[in-house]
Homo-oligomer: 467 residues x 2
């Protein structure tokens, strides 16, 4: 049967069907460190909506699972080969179909990289605001499939706020279009929002109409600050928000993170920053203000930091700002240099940030693991990092993560702020949602994908095989 | 049977069940001018979530239709008595349960008026941004049920962007909670967004956690301008956006609207405004800038208006600004003074604003009706007004509206930007959505409300009676 499916794909799609070992192997992984148990049946690289539809028609008729995949930068195992599946890799559908400056929108294929769209837009003075830390390598289709957040979304919104409309191929190969080219519109249920963040389990996003914004004029002015401990740093961030200040970026790094970054970059990289001569246990915050009031806002942010016990440095120089932010951006490479990294993604209400940092420290101590943690402090989203040796995530790390998830939910938050549920967090989904909402969510899945062929095992535990 | 249902409601809910004529009559209408054919079975005015659940359990067991209703200010017939229905009037559930300044959120019951929440927030420097023109009389539950827009949403987003979480009673009486208290969160499908704008057809909103924003500092600076004709005014508004200017308010009134307002307010009210001495055919735009750069932005907006042929007046005085905006706000009373008003609600991409105004004029001429039209110009949302004598909307007005809807959709827009589908626009829903999306929407409805008891006839044509 599976051989027949492959033959049929080849007959109808020719060279879009890729069977070489390297491609099949590559599709087993994303950036989570998790690796699928098996290779897929085939990788299909469609060049058009019609080829996506053909793939889905063949898959539907043969009940073959399909894993939609973009740039493969996911952090939750949401787009990796599952047994007997076709991996539908849309990364080659990467054309920017339209930029409409008057209506401040772009129409893009799903494989367009976030950074590529912004590079193309630079001359127009417009900008696609969602900015996952992976923006240079992640695709807009993937940003939408996970409702990606990023550093700027407390001020500029998550991906959902930037999606006006979608073209989606359904499980049976039909093409639908949701939404519109207008900012407002309330005809019927908001399927555009429902599909945003659905992790490839409801349909294949093949085109998106996204909202653009004017690039903020003024700034950036960057403020970096060192604090005696992470609680003081968290309190300082909460105080910034309470003072009604709205920096575009507000990133917090605990002492474990800074130690790893200092090792990775070398002490020289920290000279002239508040991190030079940092004492053990100290924490670091970097903020950036933009817009017309950037300079005044930055002065006010620095004052709040100093009142909270911070040693600050403020600069309106773009290169200097990039250098300060670069410390934050070095986090992932610094961790990756030490082994495999599991990057977690809890979010809590802003006011609970210090409490959550405290809890993570206690959990780490209890389980004997170090958990360097950074936070998008303006929206309460924390990324605790677990480093381990290659292979599967060890059980004691999952035990620590489990405690962390439950703490976040108890504090009014969530187990995933922006990475998605994928495979890695599905076992906690029902706990956070409760049985009635979980049942409705499964109903939504069945409505869009009655045969269960779209990304099985993602978000929900896999169903027993169909007979 | 229906008598039994009423007896059961009384037995379990006592004085929350209202049967007096005035209440039953009042529930036949909203602000659309449409009137239900019959009175409902009863009006229930619950004081608690538990009473809503009791009502739904009784309704579910007896398959009695339920019409959720808030302040009754809807403009699409979405919350009016349907035959044999219980009207579930939640306007008495109007407590502000919590305001959390640190986390910038409020938890409210659905009957809280939009304006009442903002009055309560004034001292905190925070603000609930969704601002339908009806904000003083419309409830937050209703704002959410219709995903209300308003004057400010090109800059500050529609209601969906301000809803973090909901408590909802399902058709069978179960209570669910969706969303969370954090800005970010991607566990499972976004049911909060799906329920926002669902017009009471999926569940009863009994509590909402809404996002607050800091009140913008700086401004308002108001700019009013008169233009030779509506196309020049529309082009000027498009030019403001193209210049990357982002006034909080950008309202356009065509000559028919101004004429009605001038009659209603009297010429004296226009002295000292660009409308004094207005020539026939001229159109009017009023803009308001806020935030740190308000004054500079307002100067730039005025320059764009003047370059486009406008006679402008700019003022940083709050009272003067209110007076200029008051001209726009007089639109509804001015129209209502002439008869029943059907306020339509098409939206088009900003760049098509002039074309849509032209089309409305042509449609009016063809059908022999005057259609005074105003627009939230920054988001392309137009409100064409039809005046008629009491009773049902005459057929020739619907014929004109029908042409208007089709034109808006052809231009990449929608038949309703912010009022909702309700009863009045359900016959056009499938046309805009297309058959496949319409079928999915009906599937969503069946998933949440398998017996079809929630607001039957709203959004979708009523099903044939169950046997």
């Amino acid at each position: 049967m599976s051989n027949e499916v492959v033959q049929q794909l080849i007959a109808e799609l020719g060279s879009a069907v890729v069977l070489d070992e390297a491609a099949l192997e590559a599709s087993r992984e994303d950036r989570s460190g998790h690796r699928a148990a098996e290779r897929p049946l085939a990788v299909v690289r469609p060049g058009s909506i019609a080829e996506v539809q053909t793939t889905m028609r063949i898959a539907h008729a043969s009940r073959t699972p399909v894993v939609p995949r973009g740039a493969g930068t996911g952090l939750a195992g949401g787009a990796i080969a599952s047994p007997g599946a076709i991996v539908l890799d849309v990364s080659g559908m990467d054309r920017i179909l339209e930029i409409d400056e008057d209506d401040e929108l772009a129409v893009v294929e799903p494989g367009v990289l976030n950074g590529a769209l912004n590079a193309r837009l630079a001359q127009s003075g417009l900008w696609f605001a969602p900015d996952p830390a992976s923006r240079e390598i992640s695709s807009i289709g993937g940003n939408i499939a996970t409702n990606a957040g990023g550093l700027l979304c407390a001020k500029y919104g998550v991906t959902r706020e930037a999606v006006l409309g979608l073209a989606v191929v359904l499980a049976d190969g039909r093409l639908i279009r949701t939404g519109r080219r207008t900012v407002k519109g309330v005809t019927g249920y908001d399927l555009t929002a429902l599909l945003t963040g659905s992790e490839g389990t409801l349909g294949i996003i093949v085109e998106a109409t996204v909202r653009l914004r004017p690039i903020p004029l003024g700034g950036p002015v960057t403020i970096a600050a060192a604090f005696p401990d992470v609680e003081a740093a968290a309190a300082a961030c909460t105080a910034v928000t309470a003072a009604k200040l709205r920096p575009a970026i507000l990133e917090l790094l605990d002492s474990g993170s800074i130690a790893r970054i200092a090792e990775h970059l070398g002490e020289a990289a920290l000279v002239g920053t508040p991190l030079a001569g940092l004492a053990p246990g100290e924490a670091f915050v970097v903020a950036q203000c933009d817009d017309a009031g950037a300079e005044a806002d930055a002065v006010a942010v620095a004052a709040v930091f100093e009142a909270a016990g911070g040693r600050t440095r403020r600069s309106g120089d773009v290169a200097e700002g990039e250098r300060l932010l670069g410390i934050r951006r070095a986090m992932h490479p610094a961790m990756a240099a030490r082994g495999e990294v599991l990057i977690e993604d809890v979010a809590v209400p802003r006011s609970k940030l210090a409490e959550m940092f405290r809890a993570i420290e206690a959990i780490g101590a209890r389980h004997g693991v170090e958990i360097p943690t950074i936070a998008h402090a303006a929206d309460g989203n924390l990324h605790p990092n677990f480093v381990y040796e290659g292979g599967e995530v060890p059980a004691h790390l999952w035990a620590a993560a489990d405690e962390m998830f439950r703490t976040a939910v108890r504090l009014g938050g969530t187990l995933t702020g922006e990475h998605g549920v994928g495979i890695l967090k599905r076992r906690w989904l029902a706990d956070e949602l409760g049985p009635d909402v979980f049942e409705l969510q499964q109903g939504v899945k069945r409505l869009f994908d009655p045969l269960g062929i779209l990304n099985p095992g993602v978000m929900f535990e896999p169903a027993p095989p169909a007979r």
